[in-house]
């Protein structure tokens, strides 16, 4: 590998470590959160470097975007913590222990740079039969579709968990006019790019999750700009949106088990179409759930 690339990797690594350290130990909480958001952006760059553009897209929308909004809005509620008096002996002991564990972990991890990899070849050989031509999408929605179904349930559970919380009773801050103006342009753009990512997912990096996250970012922006009405859980349509991904997925799975070849078995000629259908439903659910998680208030989630 050329020396310049190695240099780039090392620089990226050092920057990531500095930002991570600042996120945890920065003197003010605000600095920590900003460092953490920058860490997420840089991480997206690393994923792209490592040949994982699907992840780079997801990380940029999630790690930097939605988590950032959540952290900053949580900051308003929290006091800066009192400085912790650290004793030198304890720090030294922690450091020694940390180095020891690190050496053990490195001894376990580094030999793995050469290990058997039977699965990539297998995925490629079965790609024809999967109904999509992008291998990551084929794994997510066909070979390991059960993981994806459960993952949608995890998202649903997070929304349900937030619903059980008592209201925070926080007054919404006044809307910043510039945000309003910008979001009128950016939100439609997020719909277009989201739709494009979803469509692209069957043959190139992209797919339901990336598209859903981007749509959610658009919804969050509109909501923060006060351009969107309150989304109420009482609204049947919203509940349908949150649930449609899991419900459709389960219906396909069960229909396969009772009428077809088996649980989550797509019929041979239909798999491409079914995967697209499931992806569209999953995108809608992911977008609705993530928006509720980030900007959902008592009025929206309330009973």
């Amino acid at each position: 590998m050329p020396a310049t690339e190695l240099l780039l990797d090392i620089t990226l690594g050092v920057l990531l470590l500095i930002l991570a350290g600042a996120a945890l130990h920065g003197t003010r909480l605000y600095t920590g959160i900003i460092s953490f958001i920058a860490f997420g952006l840089l991480l997206a760059l690393v994923w792209a470097r490592l040949g994982a553009p699907d992840l780079a897209l997801a990380e940029a929308a999630i790690g930097a975007g939605l988590t950032g909004v959540l952290l900053l809005s949580a900051l308003g509620r929290h006091a800066d913590e009192p400085a912790q008096p650290g004793s030198a002996v304890r720090t030294l002991a922690t450091l020694l222990l940390g180095v020891l564990v690190l050496i053990l972990l490195l001894r376990a991890v580094l030999p793995l740079a050469q290990g058997p990899q039977p699965l990539p070849a297998l995925v490629n050989s079965q790609l024809e039969a999967s109904g999509v031509s992008h291998p990551v999408t084929a794994v997510l929605l066909n070979f390991r579709a059960w993981d994806t179904l459960l993952e949608l349930l995890v998202l649903l559970l997070a929304v349900l968990g937030v619903r059980q919380l008592q209201p925070a009773g926080r007054p919404r801050p006044g809307v910043w006019p510039l945000l309003q103006a910008w979001s009128r342009i950016l939100a439609p753009l997020s719909v277009i790019i989201g739709g494009y990512l979803l469509w692209r997912g069957s043959h190139a990096p992209g797919g339901a999750f990336q598209a859903g996250a981007l749509l959610a970012a658009g919804v969050v922006m509109l909501r923060l700009a006060g351009l969107l009405p309150l989304l109420r859980w009482e609204n049947g349509l919203l509940r349908l949106l949150v649930l449609v991904g899991v419900a459709l997925f389960l219906t396909v799975a069960a229909a396969g088990a009772w009428f077809g070849a088996g649980w989550l078995n797509y019929p041979a000629h239909w798999s491409g179409a079914l995967i697209v259908l499931i992806e569209v439903a999953a995108t809608l659910s992911i977008a609705a759930s993530l928006s509720l998680l980030v900007v959902g208030e008592r009025q929206e989630l309330g009973r």
Partner: protein, 100 residues
């Protein structure tokens, strides 16, 4: 030393940094960030493993996408729970300790 080994080591280091933060820090937001660092470290190990020996392993990349969704759901829930907890505490002690 190749790029993959470098990122394997970096992933482990981030994971450990996150674990240390979780055990040492007390503020809920810092602890949630620490857990996310652990997650990023784990994902980095997985992505570096996926990229070793030139060709990319789509299975590992798909696993990381799933892991990312799980992580963001759990983080969002944890943050909202931390906010609700803080709101409850400052309501009980209305001296306004949450104001900076």
């Amino acid at each position: 030393m190749s790029g993959a080994s470098l990122y394997l080591g970096l992933g482990v280091l981030l994971w450990l940094l996150g674990l240390h933060g979780l055990l040492r820090l007390r503020h809920p937001l810092r602890r949630i960030m620490a857990i996310n660092l652990m997650g990023s470290g784990t994902f980095m190990v997985m992505v570096a493993l996926a990229s070793r020996s030139g060709h990319n392993d789509p299975v590992l990349q798909a696993l990381v996408v799933t892991g990312l969704v799980v992580a963001v759901s759990a983080t969002a829930f944890a943050l909202r729970l931390a906010v609700a907890h803080q709101a409850h505490r400052s309501r009980q002690r209305p001296t306004g300790e949450h104001e900076e």
